[in-house]
């Protein structure tokens, strides 16, 4: 039973430098801050960071799974508050949870949280799906 306040199961995605390269190729976003540590440090970042849109794509997968497929996702939004930091040779977590915030007929609104290394990386993350 889906009702306001229903908490969805947590899911953990793992990101590494290889996944960032794969996303860069799949999205066309080849900004070096997502691949080149020397460059990332030179512009004041703590290390290579994941594309905000990669984080959003992975949380989008979480939403699609809840919705029973991408075709049922009709709205999705997020603010990029903190970067997901991806050091060389490491796999970092992206831990996603969701809570049902509204039910209106067949439209279910989700409030989403996404953290990496315990830090909240998305703000105001919301989706509306058809169930």
């Amino acid at each position: 039973m889906i009702e306001v306040g229903t908490v969805l199961d947590e899911k953990v995605f793992y990101l590494d430098r290889e996944l960032l390269k794969q996303y860069a190729d799949a999205s066309g976003d080849q900004n070096p801050i997502h691949q080149n540590e020397e460059f990332a440090l030179s512009v004041g970042l703590p290390n290579v960071i994941a594309h905000g849109m990669l984080t959003m794509a992975l949380v989008g997968k979480y939403v699609s799974d809840f919705a029973g497929g991408s075709a049922n996702v009709i709205e999705y939004s997020a603010r990029f508050t903190k970067p997901v930091i991806v050091p060389a040779g490491e796999k970092v977590d992206l831990t996603v949870t969701g809570t049902v915030s509204e039910v209106d007929g067949n439209k279910v609104s989700l409030s989403l949280t996404a953290t990496s290394a315990g830090v909240k990386v998305l703000g105001m993350a919301k989706a509306v799906v058809l169930k």
């Binding site: 794969q22 997968k61 999705y76």
Partner: protein, 129 residues
């Protein structure tokens, strides 16, 4: 600096873009999506950001793409995108302000298939001081 006269204007993107199955497959592979019959919800960002860059960096608009960070993103999806779709893109500069030397611009992308709206996407882009 962005030309303030461009705020409120809509700019057509380049020619229509045909979505290929291999592009959808590559995007799905990154996120572990096994259903590749339609594109994942954020797939069209690859079209939208490319078009934003092309349009917003035109000399008469003047945004500095090299200092840009992505502030937030929203999608409204009216019809799922599939391989073979031919999409046109138009970008509307909805708002612009300067805060603490940072330029903050909100741009809407409307993707259409045969004149019908498929996805509207809003991006807030920040050009760092």
């Amino acid at each position: 600096m962005l030309n303030p006269d461009s705020v409120g204007s809509t700019f057509a993107g380049t020619d229509s873009i045909t979505v290929s199955q291999s592009e959808i497959d590559a995007f799905c592979a990154v996120i572990g999506e096994t259903d590749t019959s339609i594109a994942p919800p954020t797939f069209t960002i690859r079209i939208t950001l490319t078009q934003f860059e092309e349009i917003l960096t035109r000399p008469e608009i003047g945004l500095d793409w090299s200092r840009l960070v992505h502030g937030d993103q929203k999608f409204e999806i009216f019809s799922p995108v599939k391989a073979g779709d031919q999409l046109t893109c138009a970008a509307t500069i909805e708002s612009y302000r300067v805060a603490a030397g940072n330029e903050i611009v909100t741009v809407r992308s409307d993707l259409k298939r045969e004149e019908r709206l498929v996805i509207s996407a809003w991006s807030t882009l920040v050009v760092r001081a």
